[in-house]
C-alpha cells in the first residue's frame, strides 16, 4: 500500500465513522442548529483572536475605508462636484463607505474563509471534520463583524460627526432594515464566492480584482446612472446596488419602509440566489476534496 492509498484509507475510515448515523444518533433540527451555532461562535472567536494578535492588523482594519473616503471626498472636490445623484457629496460617499466596509469585510472574511484554511494548511482537516462548512464560513463573517465592521462603522460615524454631515431619517426602522439587508447581501455574495475562490486556486488575486468592479456595479462610489448602458443593466441585477439605494434613501432622503420595500425585496431575493450558489459551490469543494484533489496545494 503506497502513501496515497494509505491516505485514502484514512479518509474512508473517517468518512465511514461520521457518515452512517443511525436514527438513534441522528441529530434533531434543533440539535443541528445548536451545533452549527457553536461551530460558528468558536470559528468567530478563533478568527478574532488570530486577527488581533498583531498590532499592525488592528490598526490596518479601520484605516482603509477612512482614507479611501477622504481620497474620494478630495477627488469630488477637485472635480468641483458638490452634489452626486441628488445627494450632498459627502453624505453620498459616507453611505458608500458603509457599503465598502460591509463588502470588504465579507469579501475577505466569509469569501476568503475556506481559502484561509487552505493557506494555513488546515483545509484537509476541516473537510475531515463533521462540522458544517456553512457554519465555518458564517463564523468567519461573525468574527469579521466584531473585528472589522464594528470598528469601521465607529470610524465612519466619527468622520460623519467631524464633518457635520446631516442625515434625514424619517423612519429608523427603514434605516435598520436597509443596513441589515445590505449586510446580509454582502455576506451572501461572500458566501457564494467562498467555494469559487478555493476551486480557482487564485483566491487572493480574485479577491483583489473584485473589489473595485463591485464598487462600480453597486453605486458605492459613483452613481449607477453615470455608468455606460451595459454596466447599468448589470448593476440592476446586482444585489448590492438595491441595498445601497435603500440605505441612501432611508438615511439621507427620509424614505420610509414602503419607499424602500421594493429595493429590499429585490435584495432579499437576489441574496437568496447567492446563498444557494454558495451552498452548491461549497458542495463542489467538498466533492473535489473527497475525490482526492489536493486542495492544500497551489
Amino acid at each position: 500500500m503506497n502513501a496515497r492509498q494509505q491516505d485514502e484509507a484514512i479518509v474512508e475510515t473517517a468518512v465511514a465513522t461520521i457518515a452512517p448515523m443511525g436514527p438513534e444518533n441522528r441529530h434533531t433540527t434543533w440539535q443541528s442548529l445548536r451545533i452549527s451555532l457553536a461551530i460558528c461562535v468558536a470559528t468567530a472567536r478563533s478568527y478574532f483572536v488570530r486577527r488581533s494578535a498583531y498590532l499592525v492588523d488592528i490598526i490596518r482594519s479601520p484605516m482603509y475605508p477612512a482614507f479611501y473616503f477622504l481620497t474620494l471626498v478630495l477627488t469630488y472636490r477637485v472635480a468641483g462636484r458638490t452634489v452626486v445623484d441628488g445627494f450632498e457629496t459627502q453624505g453620498y460617499l459616507l453611505v458608500g463607505t458603509v457599503g465598502v466596509v460591509l463588502w470588504q469585510s465579507n469579501l475577505w472574511a466569509s469569501g476568503y474563509a475556506i481559502e484561509q484554511e487552505r493557506y494555513e494548511g488546515t483545509i484537509n482537516s476541516l473537510f475531515l471534520t463533521p462540522a458544517s462548512r456553512a457554519a465555518v464560513v458564517s463564523g468567519y463573517a461573525l468574527g469579521s463583524f466584531f473585528f472589522t465592521i464594528l470598528p469601521n462603522i465607529a470610524v465612519v460615524a466619527a468622520i460623519a460627526f467631524l464633518m457635520h454631515l446631516h442625515s434625514n431619517v424619517q423612519n429608523p426602522l427603514a434605516v435598520i432594515a436597509s443596513v441589515v439587508g445590505l449586510g446580509a447581501a454582502t455576506y451572501a455574495l461572500g458566501f457564494a464566492l467562498a467555494g469559487v475562490f478555493v476551486l480557482s486556486r487564485r483566491a487572493n488575486l480574485l479577491a483583489n480584482f473584485l473589489q473595485s468592479p463591485i464598487y462600480l456595479l453597486s453605486g458605492m462610489i459613483v452613481p449607477i446612472s453615470a455608468l455606460p448602458y451595459a454596466l447599468r443593466l448589470l448593476a440592476d441585477v446586482f444585489p448590492l446596488s438595491a441595498g445601497m439605494t435603500a440605505l441612501r434613501e432611508s438615511l439621507l432622503a427620509g424614505a420610509g419602509m414602503s419607499d424602500v420595500a421594493g429595493d429590499l425585496t429585490r435584495l432579499i431575493a437576489l441574496s437568496a440566489v447567492l446563498m444557494v450558489v454558495g451552498l452548491y459551490m461549497l458542495g463542489r469543494v467538498e466533492h473535489v476534496a473527497k475525490s482526492g484533489a489536493e486542495l492544500d496545494f497551489d
Binding site: 478630495l74 477637485v78 473595485s212
Partner: protein, 271 residues
C-alpha cells in the same frame, strides 16, 4: 601554475543582482502564466481609473488625461509597496529567508534583483491603464521622450527607496502585507494619483509635498501629455531629484539597521 584574476566585488554583486532577477522573473512568469493571472492583474487598475474618470466626467473633465497618466505611473507605486516591500516577508513564509541571508553576497544585491522582477506585472498594468485611457476616455499623448527618460528613473529611484524602507519594516512587523495596506491608502490620499497636488486644500497639499509621488505624477503627466521639456517641469524635477538621492540612501540605511536588529534578536524566521 596559472592564476585567474579573482572577480572584484562589484562584478560579484552585479552577477548576484542578475541571478536574483533571473530566478525571480522565471518564478513570476510561471506564476503569471497560470489561469490568465497576468491578464486579471493587469485589468484590475482599469476599474480604479474608471471610478476616478467617472467622477471627473461629471465635473473637471480636463483632469481626465492627468489621472490616466498618474494611474499609469501608480502601477509603479503599487509595485514598490506590495511587491518590493513584501519580498522578505514572502521569502520568510516560503522558508527561504534564512538561506538568502547566508548567500555570499550583499543583501541589497538579491533584494534589488528580486525587486526588478516586478517589472512584468508593473509594465502590464501600466500598459493596460494607458491603453484604456486612450480607448475609453479618448486621451491623446504628446510625449517628450527626453523628459520622460529623465523623470522616470528619478521616480523609480524614489520608489525603490520607499520599497526598501517598507521591506525593513516588514521584517520587523512580520506582517508586511498588512503594513502595505496601512501605507498604501496614505500614499493614495496624499500622493496625487487621483488629483494633481496643486489642486489640494492647504493641509493635504503641504503633506503631499513631503512625498515624491505628486512631483513624479506632475512631471510625468506634463511630459507625456503636453510635450513638456525638462526646463518646463523643473519645479517638479528638482524636488524629485532630491527624493531620488535621499530615499534610496535612507532606505538602505533603514533596511540595514532593521535587518540587523531582527537578526540579532534571532527573529528572522519567527512569525
Amino acid at each position: 601554475m596559472s592564476q585567474r584574476a579573482a572577480p572584484n566585488s562589484i562584478s560579484i554583486e552585479m552577477r548576484a543582482i542578475q541571478a536574483a532577477w533571473i530566478a525571480m522573473i522565471k518564478e513570476r512568469i510561471q506564476e503569471f502564466g497560470r489561469q490568465g493571472t497576468l491578464a486579471i492583474w493587469a485589468i484590475r487598475p482599469i476599474f480604479d481609473l474608471a471610478i476616478a474618470a467617472l467622477i471627473y466626467a461629471g465635473g473637471a473633465k480636463d483632469l481626465v488625461p492627468y489621472i490616466v497618466v498618474s494611474m499609469t505611473a501608480n502601477a509603479l507605486v503599487w509595485n514598490s509597496i506590495f511587491w518590493v516591500g513584501e519580498i522578505l516577508d514572502r521569502e520568510r513564509r516560503k522558508g527561504t529567508l534564512l538561506s538568502l541571508f547566508l548567500a555570499p553576497c550583499a543583501r541589497l544585491s538579491w533584494l534589488i534583483g528580486f525587486a526588478g522582477s516586478g517589472v512584468v506585472e508593473t509594465a502590464a498594468a501600466a500598459l493596460t491603464v494607458g491603453v484604456a485611457g486612450t480607448l475609453l476616455f479618448g486621451v491623446r499623448f504628446h510625449p517628450n521622450v527626453l523628459t520622460l527618460l529623465v523623470t522616470l528613473p528619478l521616480f523609480v529611484a524614489s520608489l525603490i527607496g520607499i520599497g526598501l524602507i517598507m521591506s525593513g519594516f516588514g521584517l520587523v512587523t512580520k506582517h508586511s502585507n498588512e503594513l502595505s495596506n496601512v501605507v498604501f491608502p496614505i500614499l493614495t490620499l496624499l500622493g496625487g494619483a487621483y488629483y494633481p497636488m496643486a489642486k489640494l486644500p492647504e493641509v493635504p497639499r503641504l503633506l503631499a509635498h513631503l512625498l515624491p509621488l505628486g512631483y513624479g505624477f506632475q512631471a510625468l503627466s506634463a511630459a507625456a501629455l503636453n510635450d513638456a521639456s525638462i526646463y518646463d517641469v523643473r519645479a517638479s524635477l528638482i524636488p524629485l531629484l532630491g527624493f531620488a538621492i535621499a530615499l534610496p540612501l535612507a532606505g538602505t540605511l533603514i533596511f540595514r539597521s532593521l535587518e540587523r536588529s531582527v537578526r540579532r534578536s534571532g527573529e528572522l524566521e519567527l512569525y
